[in-house]
Symmetry: C2
Subunit: 156 residues, 2 copies
Amino acid sequence: MALKPGNPPPDTGDEDIIEPLCAVFRRSLREEGLKYTPERAQILDSIIELDGLFEAEQLLEEVKSKGFRVSKATVYRTLKLLEDSGIIQRVLFDRDQSHYQLAYGRRGNTLLVRVDTGEVEVLELPELVALRDALCKARGLKPEGHRLQIFATSTK
Amino acid sequence: MALKPGNPPPDTGDEDIIEPLCAVFRRSLREEGLKYTPERAQILDSIIELDGLFEAEQLLEEVKSKGFRVSKATVYRTLKLLEDSGIIQRVLFDRDQSHYQLAYGRRGNTLLVRVDTGEVEVLELPELVALRDALCKARGLKPEGHRLQIFATSTK
DNA sequence: CTTGGTGCAAACATTTTGCAGCACA
DNA sequence: TGTGCTGCAAAATGTTTGCACCAAG
């Protein structure tokens, strides 16, 4: 079975990140012999602007609304690069399309999804990480990351 | 935002289920004024045969290999019905297509995915359920289900 | 020049849908 | 005779790719 789960959410530490994302991206690109182009910068800027969960189409809108002319192809290509850099991650909780979110320097693998309103909250659950690590250890496995989505509605 | 996360994994209890799945399916269909047709029976049988994670195409193969002639459209339509009945659930951990698994009478929402071999183990984590419930309660929310995927590799 | 980047449109893969015919109450 | 079910093929969706042209070292 050939699984392509997207990059499993990177297990970055808890350290605060102060380096601007564009620098991270640029460095990551350079390491691959790739270029930090205006389009790529604009896309990253727009992602930061969106500040939360977003989908490709939405990102394209955002980029265009800022007066930049970037094609859909470039958006998708850049998303892949950003994922490779660990700056964003795919979320995969919607059956219809991929969602993404900023991931660099975070553990944004745990989401609380309010199914009635559509709100999504990013959680931090050290207990879950502990649970996961113990569980892997018991099986002789090395944890590479995880994804949790909790679905809930208002009790009212 | 209109989220369609697929049915959140149903929060069935821990009771052992003895009623055959076909009976569950038939009842569920009848409740909707729908029919338990040979095609639907064959598809459910094949799912039981597959016994684990599967994707639509794979299921279609299985059905055909048993000598039944069922169209792709019917497979997809039946998958949706089975999901509505709570008999199967979408898994959503692969970026390319939906995976499904039997869900009835289980809490199969927690998967341990071995990214190197592609093996997938279904886990039962009462601690996670407790954690989730506490967390929702603290926010005045009613938990409707969850999905967890843990990614790991062999420590070798 | 050579390498990589872009936009466009076409290609893709999975899933959904419109429609004509069929089956059974 | 009506309601639902099926297969087929066409459509729809999100994503990827081929290609011609552009830009920078």
